[in-house]
């Protein structure tokens, strides 16, 4: 049996008024992949911040023993120095610098401040080979996709001679394919003897790679499961403290006539005018129906949705959209909103919320007319609307005056949803509605979707998580490379069928 590389004992971290961690224990053996799972707010990130020295020694109680020595980190530098490297969910790369510059940022091969570019690039090439990334070290970060950026982050960690690699939600924004590649890489590292800690919401991934799983709930260690006991159901039970027999709320779909229809929708790339991003899409949604759009990252799903929604993406948009047989003018976002179409973005922080303002102002933003008359806002009406939606969507906050930037991912998503629910749409397009949020919050979002469908709205859900689509949709369209390549009833759809449609479509497109 391998020796213990890291031992965190009785870690207790208190913020004024709140105990974020209480007596957490974590023991990681050399050469294993140790998964840490828990709901949002359970304390995973706080624990990692303690481990990496973001919260310096002295601000918490308990012991950290790394390779037999007790550590007192004063900052990230100390922990990195002895080989503990953390890769955060949000990547810390400079977009306008090259891969090589990013990898050695702050750690350049320099003598007296003069950089040896050749050495930098040679070492970068070697590192890139290790992570299986086939790119020129001179390529700018902004020109490669998120999946490859993630690999650059890992290469950067390797450059620091990492002994313990911590990955915080590494696949949150990756496509299925890139996620698989990343997990394979982790397994490869493991074969080479590296130890890693994986923080993830995606239990199937944990299931696939982890040797052990430690579950944290409400700032406490619940249990550490060995490989043989790891199963999704077991982890979920332990994470939420109750058994979630059904991950999707039950619903009885009452599906009516087609109310929303898109015909021959084509869109060209906003910059490369000759590149057709969306190719003659035809699609319809019935009243009370939840329609899923499946596809890999880059299939054009978000582009399709955004081009529909007030032409927020692309150029030379052609095609027809109709609601209840009446053609719609969706040439601007405000017209789309007026015509009762809503689009809930996949990127709530960049496109969905004003993070420096509070819940109340965010909820009413898309429908200020609903709380004002002649341009004057009725404060009381706005207040009751905000409180009403806070209750309806179960936003956990001290009051509607809490800044949205201070909310957890799941609660932020509920604020964005509230905003669009208040705009009273008939057609609701939800783009990755549960990305980066925990199991409990996911269930709540699914419940809201089910309720909206029961109210007779037409709902389109874009998601990269196939089980989710299969769990909540009535019908699924499969998209690939800007085309619809398959359509199936959810009842006879399966992950394999969807994948097959994608693969078949790939041949057609080329």
């Amino acid at each position: 049996m391998a020796s213990t590389i890291l031992e965190m004992r009785d870690i207790t971290k208190t913020f004024p008024g709140v105990k974020a961690l209480s007596n957490v224990n974590l023991s990681v053996e050399e050469g294993e992949i140790h998964a840490v799972v828990g709901e949002n707010g359970a304390g995973k990130s706080t624990l990692m911040k303690v481990l990496s020295g973001v919260y310096p020694s002295g601000t918490y109680e308990g012991q950290i023993v790394f390779r037999g020595q007790e550590c007192h980190f004063k900052g990230i530098h100390d922990s990195e120095h002895i080989g503990i490297v953390i890769i955060h969910q949000e990547l810390a790369l400079v977009p306008m610098l090259s891969i090589a510059e990013n990898i050695f940022l702050g750690n350049e091969n320099a003598t007296y401040g003069v950089i040896d570019w050749d050495a930098n690039e040679m070492r970068t090439s070697a590192l890139l080979k290790k992570v299986g990334l086939n790119e020129d070290p001179k390529t700018l970060i902004t020109n490669i996709g998120v999946g490859k950026q993630q690999l650059v982050e890992i290469a950067k960690a390797l450059s620091k001679e990492v002994k313990l690699l911590i990955l915080d939600e590494p696949t949150a924004s990756l496509s299925e394919k890139d996620s698989q590649a990343l997990l394979d890489l982790l397994l490869e590292f493991k074969r080479q003897g590296m130890t890693s800690i994986l923080i993830s919401h995606k239990l199937n991934e944990v299931n696939r790679v982890a040797d052990k799983v430690t579950v944290i709930r409400d700032g406490r260690t619940i249990e550490t499961l060995p490989r043989k006991d790891i199963s999704e159901d077991r982890i979920i039970t332990s994470m939420v403290g109750r058994s979630l027999d059904d991950r999707y709320p039950p619903r009885e779909p009452k599906i009516g006539d087609v109310i929303f229809e898109v015909k021959d929708w084509s869109v060209y790339h906003p910059i490369h005018a000759d590149r057709q991003v969306i190719k003659n899409i035809n699609l319809n949604v019935r009243k009370g129906e939840v329609v899923g759009i499946a596809g890999l990252m880059g299939a054009g799903r978000t582009e399709f949705a955004m081009s529909l929604f007030g032409r927020s993406y692309g150029r030379h948009i052609t095609g027809e959209v109709s609601l209840r047989g009446r053609p719609l003018d969706l040439s601007s976002v405000s017209k789309a909103v007026e015509n009762r179409i809503a689009y809930v973005t996949e990127d709530r922080k960049t496109f969905g919320l004003n993070l420096i303002d509070h819940i109340k102002h965010n909820v009413t933003l898309a429908n200020l007319g609903g709380v004002s008359s002649r341009g004057v806002i009725d404060d009381m009406r706005e207040m009751s609307v905000a409180n009403d939606y806070r209750k309806k969507t179960n936003i956990r906050a001290s009051s509607v005056y809490q800044l949205t930037g201070n909310l957890s991912g799941g609660n932020q998503q509920k604020v964005v949803l509230s905003k669009w629910l208040f705009a009273d749409p008939e057609v609701l397009i939800l783009d990755e509605p549960t990305r980066g949020i925990d199991v409990g919050a996911k269930y709540e979002i699914y419940t809201i979707i089910a309720r909206l469908a029961a109210e007779g709205k037409a709902i389109i859900v874009i998601s990269s998580e196939m089980p989710e689509l299969l769990g909540i949709s009535d019908r699924i369209y499969v998209m690939n490379e800007g085309r619809i390549v398959g359509e199936m009833a959810a009842s006879d759809a399966s992950q394999e069928k969807i994948m097959r449609a994608i693969v078949r479509g790939e041949g057609k497109a080329s």
Partner: protein
């Protein structure tokens, strides 16, 4: 975002206190931050009142103070919206200078007949200001040229046109008295003066200037109406909130706040009334300030500007026409710069090539001292106004003290830096 950042409590201060009236304390601390700026202004005023041996609060000096700084505050109202929207406007000083020159040329040099009437000229000048704002805003809104660059160009262009219009280094004047009243006039006393203490008569039988106490009754009445309205609306809003069950501020705090505010306002009214009454420009300013408070706090367009400054993409995807909104913000700024230019010219009684030179920096400083964020999305009208007055009082007080102009700039710079550091520090603590 980290997936599970620690659930930090809303107000650390209040959480630490285990006993006692938590709500009152937390309300006090949040309100202290809000009113800190006004308290700072009062402290600075008291400081200069002391160091100038009582000159600062003399009625004649208060009138001067208002007349000297009104154009900064007027322009700060527009600049606040520009900065909240996420932009900057460096051209306001030059635009003000150009409009002053244009007004002078129209009234004094060009043979325009009845169109050289000050009222007509003022209206034309405000329209020209709107056009200038639209011209700059167009590039910023529809072509995404950074506002810093567009308005830096505007700063050079309009200063140049201003100087060319005045024919090199000369000044144009004198301007008609009816125009000068905009800056140096006082509202007429339609009610009639009230003499409380008759002025002392000297041996020659003439009254000694400044002796006795005669009140400008129109000013007193207007002041009382304003204070009563302030108290009434404050109370009404409070009652309405209470009825709906939303009240955070404890009643005693509300009463103290209203009483202190009213007392201060009445004191100033009394000072003005005992001199020549309310300066016209203060009335103009008061109306504009109320208007902008209303627009930013209560109107949808104001809300949209804050949303755009906070997250332009999210605002756009919420159906807000951010381009048009940006254009409007700059049109508004252009109009207020023009008004500022008219006020400067009216005060000087002539147009000079250097009018408004460097004032863009005072205006921007006022907005930042008032707590606006350079990143956009944050800032209050009242903050900008108080920030403008802080700058004005410092100018005025240091001049009376005889502080050299060079050192005045150093002090103002330090105050700007200190105010912003204070803000950032407070934000991080919260």
């Amino acid at each position: 975002m980290s997936t599970d950042s620690a659930p930090a409590p809303q107000s650390g201060v209040a959480e630490d206190i285990k006993h006692g009236p938590r709500v009152a304390v937390s309300a006090l601390t949040t309100n202290l931050r809000e009113y800190g700026l006004i308290i700072a202004l009062i402290v600075i005023m008291l400081f200069f009142q002391y160091t100038t041996s009582g000159t600062l609060f003399k009625p004649v000096n208060l009138s001067n103070l208002v007349q000297q700084n009104s154009f900064i505050i007027v322009m700060a109202l527009g600049m606040l919206l520009v900065i909240v929207a996420g932009y900057i406007d460096l051209s306001v000083g030059s635009v003000a200078g150009f409009i002053g020159a244009l007004a002078a040329m129209m009234m004094v040099i060009w043979p325009l007949g009845i169109f050289s009437n000050p009222l007509v000229v003022s209206v034309v000048c405000l329209l020209v200001g709107a056009l200038i704002g639209a011209a700059q805003g167009y590039w910023i809104a529809y072509h995404r040229i950074p506002s810093f660059i567009v308005t830096l160009a505007g700063m050079l262009i309009f200063r140049g046109i201003c100087q060319a219009l005045l024919g090199g280094g000369s000044s144009v004047g004198p301007l008609p008295d009816s125009f000068k009243a905009l800056s140096s006039g006082f509202i007429p006393d339609v009610i009639g003066p009230l003499t409380l203490i008759p002025p002392t008569v000297n041996a020659a039988g003439k009254t000694i200037v400044g002796s006795g106490l005669t009140l400008h009754m129109t000013t007193v009445v207007l002041g009382l109406i304003a204070v009563l309205a302030y108290a009434y609306f404050g109370f009404r809003t409070r009652r309405k909130r209470e009825r709906h069950g939303y009240e955070a501020e404890p009643f005693p705090l509300f009463v103290v706040k209203t009483l202190v505010g009213s007392a201060l306002a009445l004191f100033l009214v009394f000072q003005f009334a005992s001199y020549r009454g309310l300066p016209v420009v203060l009335l103009v300013m008061g109306v504009l300030i109320s208007l902008f408070v209303f627009v930013t706090k209560r109107m949808t367009i104001g809300r949209r500007i804050y949303a755009m400054g906070g997250n332009a993409k999210a605002a756009q995807l919420s159906g807000i026409n951010t381009e048009r909104l940006t254009l409007l913000v700059f049109v508004n700024m252009g109009v207020l710069s023009a008004l500022g230019g008219l006020i400067i010219a009216a005060r000087l009684g002539q147009a000079v090539p250097a009018a408004g030179l460097g004032s863009e920096l005072d205006v921007i400083a006022a907005v930042f001292i008032g707590g606006a964020s350079a990143m956009g999305g944050v800032g209050q009208v009242i903050g900008a106004v108080v920030g403008g007055f802080i700058m004005g009082v410092m100018n005025n007080g240091m001049s009376i003290m005889g502080v050299n102009v060079d050192w005045q700039q150093v002090v103002k710079g330090l105050v700007l830096l200190g105010a912003v550091i204070f803000d950032v520090y407070n934000k991080n603590k919260a």
